[in-house]
């Protein structure tokens, strides 16, 4: 080992990477069950401060069945979810998911979430896209933020965990199908760290930064996907990238679906509520893929509005008829965003919006308990994934609005319990690992990337081009020729990535290095997404091909599995679990 580099080994029972809703909920569940019984020690790792995770941006709501006496039911929620997913969801997982969600909502209520209330003090719910019953529980339009706060605060209550803010995880160490820990860089000191743990949980969220117009945080670079992919684990259904219909022009900041849930209109250039042509019964409250496509169609057919400042086409989101009082009570953040970034007050002006990247339906291939599966479909010992990073799959090819946060909560609960049971039952020993793997990883980062003096490629230049490529070719509507272009361009970028040179050589807070590593992950994912989309010759949910406009259940009712090969990803397919409803035509 070189002298100038410090390497620490940190011993824990459980290491959790990612502290969005999923990561925090998992940590709490483990500590909550333990209560000092086994004295489990948990490491909570995040590349930014724990409470800064992207989940704080979630706005609209969290679905759960709270009022069976008013006509809601588990069956109905399951049906909505499955129909919304265009029947690509695993139905057994959905069935389990809808049942746990209710308890989660009430539990986090007790931990402090200030849900909006009815007059009698019970939790209020509202409409969301694709629902048959208004079951999106909400706290104004900062739902995710308040949930994060409650979970973060609750986690502080427990003793047996250590926080590792600003630790960037660089690889998952797996030997003989057994999880052995994570390697990470402590951004503050630049030290290399090995988290030796008996169990690991990946909850690193989505990859919105692949695109230019995105609603996701700068930290959402989908590192979890890259980590798993590089560790030889399969990714599932990555070509399904959700575009949220209403992103604020030009940046893509999210205007929550709750705005439409409260009754906002989508209006084109001519002042027409165009949704009547695409989803006559649900109108603006159709699922996201349908509305996104509708907006893009309007724009493509020349009924969009041109914004000369940004050079983008958009449509209007009109909330003027809601009235100031209702907006202030239920959508204050949206009003703030409009005022803050465009100087537009939604009380008396419509907002310019267009689809923005929002969610990755796909993710790390896991089973119904959140255990990460390997290439042959059996669980990796000691490794779990939860939240947006994992793909069970509950959301199939299109997630319903308000089903993301409860996925995180429910799977946080399930995974936390599963991890605890595993440790309680099997009492695994602390893994030991040959030093060589660690030295190799250390050398890759500090020697080959940070230390390299040759080459002249610029990280940010490549990132820019990648974003442009994805934005141009792998967007809401896709065609074979576009996707081919994307694949070629990404290949070229990957080649150039090998010659990057960092200009920041320091150890403390070397964001240059972090971005370079992230870019590596992003290029891999972009390739998986574009190649997967090219192969899937049908239109399903969020994946809409202009050259194959119809759903093709005969050939494509199956999940895509992508594995890292020597020359880019290798694809295979596994069947969808259909236990309740057979696929039918999806009309709204």
């Amino acid at each position: 080992m070189r002298k100038d580099i410090g390497m620490e080994t940190l011993d824990y029972d459980v290491a959790i990477v990612g502290t969005g809703l999923a990561g925090l909920r998992t940590a709490i569940e483990i500590l909550r069950r333990d209560k000092g019984k086994l004295g489990l020690r948990v490491a909570v790792i995040s590349k930014i401060y724990l409470m800064r995770s992207h989940s704080v941006s979630a706005e609209g709501g969290t679905s759960a069945v709270l009022y069976p006496e008013e006509g809601d039911s588990f069956e109905l929620m399951a049906w909505d979810t499955i129909k919304g997913s265009d029947f690509l969801a695993d139905q057994d997982a959905v069935w389990r998911f809808v049942h746990i969600a209710t308890q989660e909502i009430r539990l986090i209520e007790r931990w402090g979430v200030p849900w909006n209330r009815r007059d009698d003090g019970r939790i209020e719910q509202r409409w969301f896209g694709g629902l048959s019953f208004p079951r999106a529980t909400y706290a104004q339009d900062k739902t995710g933020f308040f949930e994060m706060r409650a979970l973060y605060d609750t986690l502080l209550k427990y003793e047996n965990w250590d926080r590792f803010d600003e630790n960037f995880v660089t690889s998952i160490v797996i030997e003989n199908n057994e999880f052995k820990g994570f390697t990470a860089i402590d951004l503050k000191t630049g030290n290399f760290r090995y988290f030796r743990a008996k169990a690991g949980v990946i909850a690193t969220g989505g990859a919105g930064q692949l695109y230019r117009i995105t609603s996701m945080a700068a930290s959402s670079t989908g590192d979890g996907f890259g980590l798993a992919y590089n560790a030889g684990l399969p990714l599932k259904d990555m070509e399904f990238v959700q575009f949220h219909p209403t992103g604020l022009v030009p940046r893509g900041i999210l205007i929550t679906e709750a705005a439409r849930g409260e009754g906002a209109y989508l209006v084109n250039k001519d002042g027409e509520r165009f949704m009547k042509r695409y989803a006559p019964s649900k109108m603006e409250l159709a699922p996201r893929d349908i509305v996104s496509r509708a907006i893009m169609k309007e724009i493509m057919e020349g009924r969009g509005v041109y914004d000369d400042k940004s050079g983008l086409y958009h449509v209007w989101l009109d909330m003027r008829h809601l009235g100031k009082e209702r907006i202030e009570e239920r959508l204050p953040f949206i009003r703030e965003i409009g005022l803050k970034y465009l100087g537009i007050d939604i009380v008396n002006q419509p907002l310019p919006i267009r689809p923005t990247v929002h969610y990755n339906m796909g993710g790390i291939h896991v089973d119904i308990d959140g255990k990460v599966l390997n290439a042959s479909g059996s669980p990796v010992k000691g490794l779990w994934a939860a939240g947006e990073a994992a793909c069970v799959s509950i959301h199939g090819s299109n997630r319903l609005g308000s089903n993301g946060t409860n996925d995180c909560l429910v799977y946080g609960y399930i995974v936390g319990n599963d991890v605890y049971n595993y440790i309680e039952k099997e009492r695994p020993a602390s893994p030991n690992l040959s030093q060589n793997i660690l030295l190799g990883e250390e050398d890759r980062i500090f020697g080959k990337i940070l230390g390299k003096e040759s080459g002249g490629e610029d990280v940010y230049q490549i990132k820019d081009e990648l974003k442009d490529t994805m934005e141009k070719y792998v967007h809401v509507y896709r065609t074979g020729s576009d996707l081919e272009k994307a694949v070629i361009k990404i290949k070229e970028l990957k080649e150039r990535y090998k010659y990057i040179k960092l200009s920041d050589k320091s150890r403390t807070f070397n964001y240059n290095l972090e971005h370079a590593l992230e870019l590596g992950f992003m290029l891999d994912q972009a390739e998986v997404i574009a190649r997967g989309a090219l192969l899937r010759t049908e239109s399903r949910g969020a994946h809409a091909r202009l050259d194959y406009p119809n759903r093709d259940d005969a050939n494509w009712l199956k999940h895509t599995i992508a594995l890292k090969g020597a020359e880019g990803p290798l694809f295979s397919y596994i069947p969808v679990k259909i236990t309740m409803w057979k696929p039918v035509a999806r009309v709204y």
């Binding site: 104004q140 202030e328 009570e329 204050p332 009003r335 703030e336 005022l339 803050k340």
Partner: protein
């Protein structure tokens, strides 16, 4: 340019300066600085004052001596007393406002749903009015005291 940079450097490091330098911030932070400075001035003066009055107990001669000693300060005695009078006026008036704020929760406003652009109710119009009233009254009394002390015009 170089001067400027050094000044910046100083402001950056010193906790006491940073604490008492309210430039760029809200009125309340100015009142905080003043309250603190006047409080310290007053207590330092009080210590001296107690010993000053102690000479009263030693008889007229001792008292005259003390007065003479103070008198030898010339105009500075007056200026000093004027500052102390001002301090007492300001500290008392602002202290009263602080008591209303801190101990009785008055002038703060109820908890609300914040509306963008955020204007905190605790620093709202009522608070500002209270401060300006205090400043006005103190200012007026202080000028009066100045006329009285510095020019010896006792009769109204």
């Amino acid at each position: 340019m170089k001067m400027d940079r050094e000044k910046e450097e100083k402001r950056y490091k010193s906790g006491l300066l940073r604490s008492l330098w309210p430039y760029n911030f809200n009125v309340e932070r100015y009142t905080y600085t003043l309250h603190r400075i006047t409080g310290v001035i007053l207590i330092l003066y009080l210590i001296a004052h107690v010993f000053e009055i102690y000479h009263l107990a030693l008889g007229p001669a001792a008292w005259q001596q003390t007065m003479a000693l103070l008198g030898s300060l010339g105009i500075w005695e007056k200026i000093g007393l004027w500052i102390i009078a001002g301090s007492a006026l300001y500290h008392g008036a602002n202290g009263l406002r602080l008591i209303l704020n801190e101990a009785f929760g008055i002038l703060l406003g109820k908890p609300v749903l914040p509306e963008y652009p955020y204007t905190p109710t605790s620093l709202s119009r009522n608070q500002k009015i209270a401060i300006y009233v205090i400043v006005l009254i103190v200012e007026a009394l202080w000028i009066w005291a100045g006329i009285y002390l510095l020019w010896g015009l006792g009769i109204i």
